[in-house]
Amino acid sequence: MISAEIARIFLDGGGRSLASALAPIPIRPPAASTIAEGVDKLHFTLTGITLFFTVIIFSTIFFFMIKYRRQSEDEVPPEIEKNVPLEILWTGIPTLICVVLFFWSASLYIQNARPPDASTEIFVVGKQWMWHLQHPEGVREINELHVPVGVPIKLTMTSEDVIHDFYVPAFRVKKDVLPGRYSSLWFQATKTGTYHIFCGQYCGAEHAQMIGWVYVMEPSDYAAWLSGGASHESMAQAGERLFTQLGCVTCHVTDNTGRGPSLVGLYGKAEKLRSGETRLVDEALIRQAIVFPNSVILPNYPPVMPTFQGQINEEQVLQLIAYVKSLGMQERTGK
């Protein structure tokens, strides 16, 4: 029974695929981001080096196989022990190639690792087998991401369960999305069009269904799309609503008279904590303060903040962070 099934698939699958085999076999993924060209140049250089050395090794072996094939049984080949200069040569050259490749790839990697400061930030939450994407203006999308062309986009990502991985082959970007931490990647689309989003880290049964599309649009179309949707409250406004609803406002009073520190102008500063460590106030620290409050206490404040772990999901944490960020822009009052 099973063999019949396999045979059917072979014949049926084979038949259709032969037809599609005539279609040209795809060689290169679309290159639609600023870094795609640089990564592809490095990739083709590496392919060149691989083919060069493979051809050298294969042709030398074939040449030796034909030239030095055994003529007679008692043939005694000459005694060749070693040749030190040759050894030094084929140690030095690969080492040199490796050093050059390292610096090239490392500098490319470092440029790509640091998002330009003016990039618009989009929040991504990976959940078992779907992507939630939130624009700061409040628009929410599932498995789809609309971005304007030519604008650097920074994705701040976290996961609600297992490790996922946000991978857009066309932009040559990929970053694991870890639970309990924020990881970020950035890209700047150069060509409009629709490109695949894949989940690049195995995450369970529907890992293969956790895919989607990036729609790169002209800025005008993007603006129309953005406003076209129902009027959403921006993430900062949603954060503010949550901030009051959860009772944070009772302690974190803006004019610093409450039990907790005022959060105005706090984002982006380096604060010395009660444990003596100095930490930059960024998304990770705010999230840690919400989930593990006792590990993030400012020196002259009592450690009385309750943990909100489990009461709010990752999207709400992101909204609170967006709100605290919006507070961060205003000047610090009081204190």
Binding site: S275, G276, F292, N294, S295, P303
Partner: protein, 226 residues
Amino acid sequence: MADMVHTAHSPALVHQFETKEQQHDAGSLGMWVFLATEIMFFGGVFMSYIVYRALHLEAFIQGSHFLDVTFGATNTAVLICSSLTMALAINAAQTGKSKSTIITFLGLTMLLGAAFLFIKFAFEWTHDWTEGLVPGLHFTYSGPHAPGVELFFCFYFFMTGLHALHMVIGLGILATLTVMAYRGRFNSDYYAPLEVSGLYWHFVDIVWIFLFPLLYLIGGRYGGGH
């Protein structure tokens, strides 16, 4: 010529070795290589502990304050005494002392090992259980740094448990050695099993020598930390 080589074999020499000295060296080298694997085995756990201690220093100091230093110190002293008696047992075999001295030293070592386990299980672990500090089974602590303290106690039970397991295996080895000593197998010419088991026992003692400061004495025990 071939059989002459075989007859020269004293009963204790197994067939694949040529000389007794080769067999002795192979035995101790084998144990040392095994101890290298044990270093990496415990090393994996120690590394995880070091990483988490660096990430959650406050919580780990809080957690270590729950541990009783006097029990830890007495346990260390007990193990050091057992190392001494083990070394003396080997020394007794080397210098051809009577069978009974070897057996008494081995008995002392086993006694001290059992004492260590008794202190560990009867006092410390039950004390931690009553206080609700056993993660996964019975963890009721909800003071400051609760998750970090739970992580600390995960490592506490896992590391001391692994060490206790090696102690139990050590006691088993010592029991077989005592039986062999009772049968008079050991003399100044043949004492390899004793020496090899001594290496293992001293290694387990060293693991505890590192466990004691890392678990009980982190960041000092003066007052409430910083």
